[in-house]
Structures are given as structure tokens and as C-alpha cells.
């Protein structure tokens, strides 16, 4: 089962270097155990610029999450949660 937030759900994320290390979601703090994948898109600049870093990660509590960071605004969002 996955939950998808197509337009991204904003959340607070702490980083170490450029990688997410901790985030707050639904009133809870989650620590990132491992970033399993990291990709980047930069497109649509002629209409609606999408420039984002995506991170697929596993938390210590076993959640698998895809977060992304908008590289223009530097804000973080959650895209998808795998149960």
C-alpha cells in the first residue's frame, strides 16, 4: 500500500550535508536510517519550473518514504509513503 501526495505535503526536514537525516511528520520525529536512492529533476522551466531532489529513504522505525526538496524554494515535501 502506498500513499501518494501528488502535490507534495510540506514537512520539516533536517539535513546532514545535503542528505535528509531527520524529519517531523504527523506529530512524530523520524530518524533516517538509510537513503536508498537519490535523483534529481530539472524541467518544465518554460512553463512551470520543477527543480527537485528526490530521496527514497528508510527510517529507523521501518517506514519507507519518498521525500523531495524544491531546489528553488529549498522547502521539503513528502511525496509517497510505503506501508
Amino acid at each position: 500500500m502506498t500513499r501518494l501526495w501528488r502535490d507534495g505535503l510540506p514537512l520539516a526536514v533536517w539535513t546532514e550535508g545535503d542528505l535528509p537525516s531527520r524529519f517531523h511528520w504527523q506529530g512524530q520525529a523520524h530518524t533516517v536510517e538509510r537513503v536508498t536512492d537519490h535523483w534529481r529533476i530539472d524541467s518544465g522551466w518554460w512553463r512551470f519550473h520543477v527543480w527537485r531532489d528526490y530521496f527514497k529513504l528508510v527510517t529507523r522505525s521501518g517506514l519507507v518514504v519518498v521525500l523531495y526538496r524544491d531546489l528553488d524554494s529549498r522547502r521539503w515535501y513528502v511525496l509517497r509513503l510505503y506501508d
Partner: protein, 1025 residues
Amino acid sequence: MTDYVELHCHSYYSLLDGTSSPEALVERAAALGMPALALTDHDGIYGAPAFARTAREAGVHAIFGAELTLHDDSHLTLLVENATGWANLCALITAGRHNADKGSAKLPAGVLEGHTTGLIALSGCRQGRIARALLHGDRKMAFQATHDLHDLFGAAHFFIEMQQHYLPDDRWLKCELLALSARLNLPYVATNNVHYASREQHRLQDVLVSIRENTPLDHALNLRPNSEYFLKSGDELAPLFADCPEALINTVRIAQRCQFTLDDGLQSLPLIATPDGMTADDYLRHLCSNRNLTEREQTQLEYELNIIHASGLSNYFLVVWDIVRFAREQDILCQGRGSAANSLVAYRLGISPIHPFDHGLVFERFLSSERQVVPDIDMDFDAERREEVIQYVYQKYGHAGAAMACTFVTFRARSALRDAGKALGLPLDVLEHASSALDAYQSRDLGESTALREALGERLDNAVWSHALAMAEQLSGLPRHLGIHNGGMVISAAPLSERVPTEPATMADRCVVQWDKDGLEDAGMVKIDILGLRMLSVLADCAAIIRQHDDPAFRFEQLTFDDPAVYAMIRAADTIGVFQVESHAQIQVLPRLKPAIFNDLIVSISLIRPGPVQGEMVHPYLRRRAGIEPVVYPHPLLEAALSETLGVILFQEQVLKVARDAAGFSAGQGELLRRALGSKDPQAALERFQTPFLIGAAERGIDPETAQTIFDKLRAFGGYSFPKSHAASFAVIVYRSAWLKRYHPAAFAAALLNNQPMGFWSRAVIVNDAKRHDITVQGVDVNRSAARCAAEQNVIRLGLNLINGIGKNAERIVAARGDQPFVDLADFCRRVPLPRRLTEKLILAGGMDGWGISRRDLLWRLGELASDDDNPLALPLISEPVRLPALTADESLHMEAGVVGFSPAAHPLTRQRHYLTQRGILTTTAMTRAADGARVRVAGLLVMHQAPPTAKGFHFLTLEDEFGMVSIIVRPQVYVHYRKIVRHAPLLVISGTVQHEGDVVNLLAKEIKAWQGFQSSSKKESQSP
């Protein structure tokens, strides 16, 4: 800092894929502290010479290579280790290019084998065979491909290439590749598949892909998913290869192995057969000495021949001599242009028409021991017959030994805006409208363009248009596709493709090398420009007519350059059609310059050109010539060099002489100074000359202030100076064409008409000028016209070739006519089946007036004949004879002008003259006789409209009536009001003030109206202006 060298990098010579010049890439690499950089464009090394030069200057080690497209469309990255590798790469690229359509490449299977020595192969990007197989889930195929490449290149020459661009499956792919390399014990290397120098340019790269696919950005399939394909430093890449740092270290190791440098110098030139076993040097001397020589000539010849020998160029001269010899044997008019006229050897060989002593020309402008550049010999040939010369060269040297230089068609302001706009999805008709509002050469600050704002209004401010303009500006100047250089041929004894790849050109049986003229010069290769000059075709045509009717032995060589009648004609600016001196600018200045001798023609050509300092040079020169201003020299020592131009620095040769006389520079040093003055960044280039110049001047007793003034004058004018040698060669053609106009005006005009488009003026102007010179112009006639315009005595018979679109049918009509004139339309149509449209044009142009039937009736009859043809089984049409109204004279005129561009019968204004005079509107001749300051009105056809960029918004118009032409000056503040009228109305009435400047009379415009003209009396009078 992590050491890293980029080994996979595309410049804009990967057409419609890379965005950056080789220079920009080198600059970026240097800024990153990268010690070396590879250039690997798709199937080409177009950028190699510029890359080599810039890298050398920046202290970056240049690595050469290419990304090849193989027979299965996979990619392979190749880097050159040594000279053998380079020859192999050239051979591979040539093979790939000749195996595909123009603009593409596909290396046939099996060719790679046998061409791998001296090359290091990297397995390629995602389109490399190995990565591609892995991405398709075919590990077996990936393994096989790796194995095969490893076998082909050998262990030390093959690396698995890995790239990390933050794509979702990049990490996975890297793991697979690392696994492969471990299994086969192969080294691996990291690259970034660079397509732009800095991140921001990824947008331009997207636009290029969109253009390449001919699909708007919204729907383009092959856009890169992000902006990571820029030139990155080792520090930026290190985290991506943290698990395999060897990948980065290997880039440095590979770079150290690639030690090939490009500057090979002169290509091996073919040997011309010499008699009696003479060496090339001896034969050259022999050819130059076959007539009596003065002592001075002998000394100069020895001097030149020694330098030619020391530069290894004897064969080059013989090759050119041989081509000229062929042309002369075939009676093809030709002459050298440009700096070759500085050489006595060139003159003695018949290459240049100018004896350097006659004009104080300096050999070192052409070739010297200090000049580090190879000379170029440019030859002009009769444009109609140039192809024969080119074919001779191909035949003699074979396709392996001869090819043309390439040239790149680049994006210009208008095409850039159109293409960028299309990529962004803007509507085509709006784009057309916008791009035609642009100045052809404006590529900066498009957003500030008032013409654009007028065309687009507020749209200009919205986001999409902002993007379009920004992208258009970035696109301008980028190469778009390969064209053919206008005649530059490279000739070599050894196969050319060992030195530089060749690829097929658009014309069948023609090859181009992958370097343009700058690239060839950088690489030290010599070429010969085989150019077509239409004026030579005009001279040849005219000479043929003269030989046919007047003087069977006529040759141009019998003319001496001193006929006063010819100069009188030029002084009166009666020069329509004359080479180089017919333009509006020339017509304005000639009556003030008053040329009287051949040298004055040289001055005229050199002086009257657009340019920023024109005002500061032309006016002082003319004033001094008229005696209004005294002739002064910055220092007496300069008098020798500058007396011929009254103290003004006009010729490039004078720059050398001033440097010599004022500062003791050798001729070679003077030439280097002259080149620096003309370079793109003169300030920087001049620095190293200033101190030696000032020192030398001091040694000659010139005080420091004066010396500085002289140097500053050189700096200001030296960049604008014109090569006297070039002007002198051209002046020969100026004189000859002027002589023809003076003594054989009908033949000359006919020849001009036959060789359009060319020159400054339209056919209509040429014809009207001929008529004003009492030449009878007879219209196109199917029973009397030849295929081309012909002339006899003072009569021109226009040719069938003047009918737009007639092409080869002109000859067919003449052939079908034979000795039997066409008796009527049916007879004509039967004997010469033509597309109906063309027969219509012939009727409209008056070509069938000879049968005494009105054109309307003929057109009607044509319709009947056509329908007869369409349906042979139909019952005969019983048609009542139709009475069609006769054509008025105006209507006839109009019809002819529509087809031929003008009416030979009468000038459009002849029939209006009565009405114009009634309204006090003057003829052009009356206007030129009016007093200075008089307020007048004049009417005419607009035949010329110029707005030179250096004229600060001033526009220059030429109006023509049946008596002549006048020049109109329109100030910017006046033009603004009448722009639309000037751009769209062909007949104008202009009121303004007469301005006299010496013998030149202009009208300073105040008001411009369109002339509606009067229709024939059966219609109402239209509104009078």
C-alpha cells in the same frame, strides 16, 4: 581538491546537441583548475583547431577525440593518444559519415577493426552498447559487448565508462557496470557527458533538442531529465563515485597518456610535373623569368622566391599556377584577389593582375618569415564557369586529394527567434511577424528592440515571450548545420582523410573537410579559394557580344587604364552597373572625389565603405583633396608612406610603412601589428607593440608625444584600413566594366541583365538607366528574343530568360522556333508545350504582341486551347466570339511589370508626368538644378532604401523617374512618421529641402506621401496627393 579530467565533452559542434563553444569549455575548465580537457563531438572534430589553440593559450592540456555512432546506432567514446590514433580517428569518422545521409553518421560493421591503434576507447554513455544492453535487462549481451570491445582495443586501451547524473536508475547502472568490470578485470573511468559549460545552459540545450526533433518543448521526447550535464569539478563528482574513487583517478591517468598535438603545419602538397627533372623551386623561378626583367624586379623575385622556398610553398604556387593556366586555356576569365597582389611572383605567374611596383605594394603583407600564418590565394573566376574549374581540380587530384572547406550556417537573429519561439509553442504567424521586424544582425537586447515592441505590443512582456527572446539571444551565433564554403579547396598529395575527416556535401560527388577556413588556418593547412564573381561573367558575356558584332579580336588585355572619357563618366557618378562604384554611397562621393587616374579608383574602393571611423577618414580626405584643408602629417617621416592618401591612413600596407618609417619595425613585425589592429580585441593584442613602437620612434628622433599620437592614430584607423592589394585587383575590374559601359553600353546592360541577381540595383533600374543613355530596349518577343538578352549597336532585345520561372524552357522555345516563326497562339502551344502559367506570363509580358491580337484576347484563347487539350473527346465548344475591352497603356505596363519586374515600353511615371507637372511636382533633373535650400516636391519609384547601422538612424532613399534618380536623406525623426509608407508604397511623392554639397545634390525629406497615381479616364480620378 579532487583531481579530475573531463573525458567526454560536447561543444556546439555536436550540432543541435551541445551548446558551448570549445573556447567557452576551455575557459570553464581552466576556471575549475582542470589540467586537461577532452573534446568528443558526435562523429566529428570540427572544433579541434579552435580547441587546440584556446587550450594552449589557457594552459589546459587538450585531448582530442570523438563520440562515434556505430552501425547499430550505439555510441562509443574514442580518445586520441598519438598521431596514429588521430589518423585512425579521421578514417573512422570519414567512413561513418560517408555511410549515412548528410548530417548523420553510421560506422559500418567491421571497420573499427584495424583502426584501433593509438586510440583509447571508453564504453560510452547510456547509448553505449554495454549500458544500453544492461538497461534492457540483457546482461548476457552486455557481457558479450564488453568482451568484444576489450578484444578489439586491448586491455590497456579500453575502459568501462560510468556516468552519474542523479537519474533514478543511475546508481543501479553503476553497480552493474562495476560488477562487469570486476568480472572481466577491466579498468573503469568516470565522465560527465558534458553538453554545456555551466548549469544554466541546460535550457538552451533543451531548446536545441526541441529544434532537432522539430517538436515543441511540451512534447519533445528526448529532453534530458535534469541539468546535471555541465562541466563539473572533481569535488562535485567525488561524492557520486565515493564507492569507486579509482574512476576519477583514471581520468588523470588517461589524460597523461593522450599526448597528441594538432599543429602539423602544411599539408603535403601535390607535385606538379616539371620539365627536365627541374625541382619545384627551379620551375617556379623559370616560370617567373620568361620575360625581360629589370634589375629591381630581379632582386625582388629572388627575395620572394627565397621566402617561398623557405616556407615550403613552391609547390603551392605551382598548383595555383596550374589552375590558372587551365582556366586561361578554357577562356575562363579569372584573376587573383586579396593579398596575392602584393607578390611579384604571383604577377609573373599570371595569378594577379597587378604589378606590385606600380602601387607600392608590400610582399610581407602576403608572406614573410615572421608571419606565422600560411598565405591564402583567392581567385575570382567567371561565376558561370567556376564549376568547370572545380571539376578540373577534382579530376586532377582525385576525391582523396581534394575537398572543399566547410562552413557553418549559424542561427541569426531572425531564425533564432523563429526557432526559439517554435520550441516554446508560440504561434507561427506571430513569430513570422515578429522575426521580420528584427534587424537581420541584431542578436543582443532583443527585449529593447522598438521594432519588436511595435510588432508585438504588450505580449512582449509575458513569460513565454521573455523566454523566447532570452533563448533567441543565446541561440544566435550557434552553428546550425554544415554549409559549403564558397569555394575554399584543400588540396593534398596524401589522402586528406588521414589529416582531417571528410564528409559528403549536399552536391553529389563533392566532399567537405570538417574544418572551416579558420580551422584550416589554425591547423596550418593551405587552401585555394576558387570564387565565382558574377561581374567576370558580365565581362565575359559582353566581350563575346563585342567579338560577335564589333571586333572579333577584342581582348581585355588590350585596354590601358587611362582613358579620360571613362574617368569623366565615373566622375559624373554615371556608374549604374559598374563594379564596386555603383552603390548609393559611391554615387554620393564620386563627384567629390573626382577620380582621374587608376589609383583614384583604388582609393575610391577603399575609402567608401561602411565603418565606424568613416566620418573621420572620408571627410578629411575629401576636404584635403578639394584643397579646403591643408595636408598635414603627424611627422615628416611619415610623408613617404602617407602622401598618396594626403596624410590619411587608408591602406593596410600603410600601417606597415608607418610602423617602419616611424619606429623601424621590420615588414614582418609591421604585419603582425596590422593583424593585431584588426583582431577582435585590439586593445589586448596591441599591448606588446606599444613599447617597442615608442622606443623605435625615439630612436628616430620623434618626440614621445608625437610618437604616442602616431600610435593612437594607428590604433584608431588601423583596424579599418583596407588592403590596397585587394582594392588594386578589384580596380582592374572596375575600370574594365566602366570602359564597357562607356563604349558598349547596350552590350553591357544586356550582360548585366543576363547575370542577375548581382550588384546594387535591380533589373528595372538597369533598363531605365540604359534607356536614359539612348539605348532602345525591345521587349520580350517569342519570335524575336533569344534565350538570353542580346544587344547589337544601341539596341537591347530582352531575352526569354527575363520571364520569372522560365528556366530551361527559354532554350526550348528558341529551339522549337528554329527558322519558322510562330504564327499564332495555337501554333506556339502546339510546338512548345509549356505549363499554362508560363504561357500566360509570356502573353502578359507582351511576348506575343507581335501577332497584333490584344493580350486579353490571347489569354481568353489560351483558356480555350487549354480546355481543348484537357478533354480531347469533348464536343467542340461553340463559343460566341467574345468582345473584351482593350487594354489601356497603364494596364499593359502593369502587366509587364508584374511578370518581368519592369516595363521596357515606358517608365510608370511617363504617363503621369502631365498630372505631376500640373501639381508643381518636379522631375529628378529639375530637382538637381534647383537652388540650394529650395523647397521642392519630387515624385518617383522607390528603387533603393538603405539604413546602414553606422548612420545613426538616418535612412537613405533613391527615387527614380523617367529622367534619372535622386537621393533622399530622411532624418530619424522624420522617418518615424512615414515608416509604413516608405516600406509599402512603391511610388512616392516627397517634399523637402534641396541640399548641395559640391556637385552632389540631395533632398532632405520633410514629408513623404504615397502616390496613388491616376487611372485611365474611364475611372474616377483618385485622390491627388
